[in-house]
Chain length 144, copies 2
DNA sequence: TTTTTATTGAGACGGCTTATCAATTTCAAA
DNA sequence: TTTGAAATTGATAAGCCGTCTCAATAAAAA
């Protein structure tokens, strides 16, 4: 039976091959866990995987998540004092509305904005691979 | 003669009054310096003000910039490992096109996108204070 | 299998930001 | 203007997050 994450595993292996890197048990384990999330911090993943592999080090998780960023599978986003690693392959890339008062995060998608982004990019000779859009403001509760 | 930053100084004083805080020489000095910038880090401001007041402490700068955030004059943005304090009252916000191959950065502005952002925000009950839009891709030269 | 090379885990380390605390400054009340 | 309670400051210690170091280990090539 084929893995649920065969496609992403392929992307990872291709990246590893191109850079003389190795496919390890840890990288496989972390990728599997990562792909089940929309976004996660290294610390969260550390605790989540502690049961499956109590000896998996935090440094390895950081290194691996950064590797995923280089392979185009993840994208780092700095929020508060921590780094969130977003799952890029998650269908329907979504953007964020972030309340600057209470920290609440609402995810949204907007095709019109994405179309305009493409327009801006092509006008400047760029081909978009990915993007990041964050709207900061006050949610309805905090405005009062 | 009236100060160039009378309006913002008023906002600050009102906030101080409401929270039983005091108007100090340091807060005035830091606000004046801050309002001349579009965005700045605490460290940058520390060096910038070192000449005017060699004894001004870094902790005071952090405390004061955070105070400005609470007063609505500034907004913290985590970029890389540092915190950028954005001058909210500064107009002419621009976004970025970033080449993932050569690192080239092109700035742009797009009113249509901004209008759609407002739409998304209000649909979710948010009032936007600021935003961040970054498009990552390949520039015309790197695509070949 | 042997050899080469990358990876791992554990903890040390470093940068950025906040907490601590005695001395000082502000500001309201006398 | 003087007084006194309360907030602020500056210096530095402490804390947090993420990266670096390095000997031991695992993966891939020969």
């Amino acid at each position: 039976m084929m893995s649920k994450h065969a496609k992403e595993m392929g992307v990872l292996k291709e990246h590893l091959g191109k850079h003389q890197l190795k496919f390890t048990r840890q990288r496989e384990l972390i990728l599997d866990a990562f792909l089940k999330q929309e976004h996660i911090t290294a610390e969260e993943m550390y605790h989540q995987l502690a049961r499956k592999d109590p000896h998996l080090g935090l440094a390895t998780i950081y290194r691996t998540l950064n590797l995923f960023c280089e392979a185009g599978l993840a994208q780092a986003r700095h929020f508060g004092t921590q780094t969130q690693y977003d799952n890029v392959s998650h269908k329907g890339h979504h953007d964020h509305l972030i309340c600057t008062s209470c920290g609440k995060i609402v995810e949204f998608e907007n095709c019109d904005i994405e179309r305009l982004q493409e327009e801006v990019a092509s006008r400047n000779g760029f081909t978009i691979q990915t993007h990041r859009l964050e709207l900061y403001g006050l949610c309805s509760r905090c405005r009062h």
